[in-house]
Symmetry: C2
Subunit: 424 residues, 2 copies
Amino acid sequence: MQRPLVVQKFGGSSVANADRIRRVARRIGRERAAGSDLVVVVSAMGDTTDELLTLAHAITDEPDARELDMLLATGEHQSATLLSMALHALGVEAISLTGPQAGITTDGRYGRARIANIEPRRIRAEIEKGNVVIVAGFQGQSETAADQAEMTTLGRGGSDTTAVALAAALKADRCQIFTDVKGIYTADPRVVPDARQLPVIGYEEMLELAHQGAQVMQVRAVELGWVNDVVIEVLSSFEDAPGTLIREDPLVEQRNKVRGLAHDRNVAKVTLVAVPDRPGVARSVFEPLAEAGINVDMIVQNVGHGGATDMSFTVPRAELGKAKKVLEAVVRDLGAREITTDASVAKVSIVGAGLHNAPGYAARMFGTLADAGVNIEMISTSEVRITCMIAEDELSTALSALHGAFELAKPDAIDVAATGMAAG
Amino acid sequence: MQRPLVVQKFGGSSVANADRIRRVARRIGRERAAGSDLVVVVSAMGDTTDELLTLAHAITDEPDARELDMLLATGEHQSATLLSMALHALGVEAISLTGPQAGITTDGRYGRARIANIEPRRIRAEIEKGNVVIVAGFQGQSETAADQAEMTTLGRGGSDTTAVALAAALKADRCQIFTDVKGIYTADPRVVPDARQLPVIGYEEMLELAHQGAQVMQVRAVELGWVNDVVIEVLSSFEDAPGTLIREDPLVEQRNKVRGLAHDRNVAKVTLVAVPDRPGVARSVFEPLAEAGINVDMIVQNVGHGGATDMSFTVPRAELGKAKKVLEAVVRDLGAREITTDASVAKVSIVGAGLHNAPGYAARMFGTLADAGVNIEMISTSEVRITCMIAEDELSTALSALHGAFELAKPDAIDVAATGMAAG
């Protein structure tokens, strides 16, 4: 009988020091003893990546992207080798591989590479030899001849993507993402005390949660899981408890349509006042922002009056200074009156597949916020999400009110059945 | 006209932090501006290698050799990328390469690999593009197919070897080893205040100095320089001053035959008392020590009397405990009386080409030590060296007496001419 193949990923906080690395090794050892073949993806230890970034910025304001990728990749090499040593100390055969050794090639874009191909020949050979294979996450090499190949990294949270991509390439039976949370919740439990852990969530819902500020998994990893039909389990590396399965959800029609709340404080509102109301204005505003690498969200343009209109949108709060600088020239060129900004705002979202077919949910969201005395400043929607921008100091009130109104603390009766299926 | 090609190597203390890395970059920038093509080899920053070793030993007592090499190699990757960034910040085009990217392949032995081959195609291409090429020292890959290749390291001080091997492969015009000392001295200037920096020293003399505890350069690097006729310049990374040239010394016959003194405190004396005097005994003693990886030096066997003999030798002081453990079984098997040890000894050597043809030097050494009241416990000699073991607390007295007796503070009249030739 074929042994089950499990891909496990451990994040930076799970391998932050020698003790934690040994604990992770014990967990892997138990899974191994239970009869699984294992491929384990690791992130860099603790804050290593940030420390390396700080070092690079102590040298130069603008580190070269190629050199930076080579520098950052060392963090995962280190944690991978140490975890392999910890397994040896337990008598578990193991070998660590760099991204290139694991056969992971990318499109070659520094700092935000996408995995182009995985040739898992070496991984399979090491599994055949009886090794637990530890793969350095977050990295791969550009697709060129050996001595021309460059190290590229996959961007923040890229180890999640490494794990899901490996699970797809190896047709793994399970893909487990171990984190410092227990799973996916109906809302952030630090803000909403009766937030409930979800046993299962659909890919699209998970994507919206991730986009809206739930930092549990890299968006790209969820997309890759969706495309390749990889069932992803998010669970705690510090507790032995079931996590949340991210998977195609066959029971989506029978559930509470709102699966969870997301929120994002890393946001600022920008308003261009009295912009001339003529074709091409939107491009004049948003093209320079895109060129500056600033993500724009929640664009609202009021009805024009007197040949001018107000245009509002949000940007990441950390980018507000840069955005203002870009927009000052734009305002001058367009002949708009002024720019106003507000960095004390936040976004709150309800997320759930099927929301767009159920207009009652939007009404209930707006009504709930009104009853709680929370003013809505902007609204945007997607297929599976309704987002309101509100004042940041009303965020906690808003989340609690919405969590109650949509009965998120109450388990769906069908969740137990769903979990059973997913694990089967 | 062909631009001169210079290989420079900077050790760990030269790149210990961001400030020092920037200083090294400025020095490289000046050499570049003077019109040289440059290949720069770096060690890991400051104590990085020791810190990584400590981390590995926090995980397990016996880290796997393969994993350890992969772990340690990250130190040089980091310093190489940071130095490249520092050059960019000065407007100097540069690129960092790992050992494998630089085309360095080894015999595949973990922890003490030897460079088997250098295929400098990529280095040459990067020089052609106008880049200063930064190469991570201390490493190379085993000679196998790309996804099977393993990272191997060259042992302590291996970056010196990387630099000399690259200078040989690239037929460089100069090979400069930047260190935290100004060059090679007639004796350790911390112990002998009037020690004098040598303008030039022969390969063989340098080898003996290195073997006898002068930690300036890796022995293997000097050997490689000798075999490939690479003129090596050792100089300070903190000062702009001429260093010492290591080269075939055509004037050796005309010089003071004693070029310098070496000493080594990392030594302990072991005596096996009343060992049966029969064939095969030496093998019974030294084979188990070799198997345990313990270097034995200065073996002395007294004339036997009554069918038994005393056998003395030295081991590195740090290995004394291990050696005793190995030898206890040996003593039992051989029926020797006991083991005695002494860890408060030191070795002092006079080094110079031609010493073996000049018996007067040995006599002068022994006489000088006697006059200074220093007792000689053991003696060993080589082609270019005479070594005495003495009590450690008499080391400073012995060095000063010898430095005076052999007139080492006085420059050779021909040194100036020699340096002029070497730089020409």
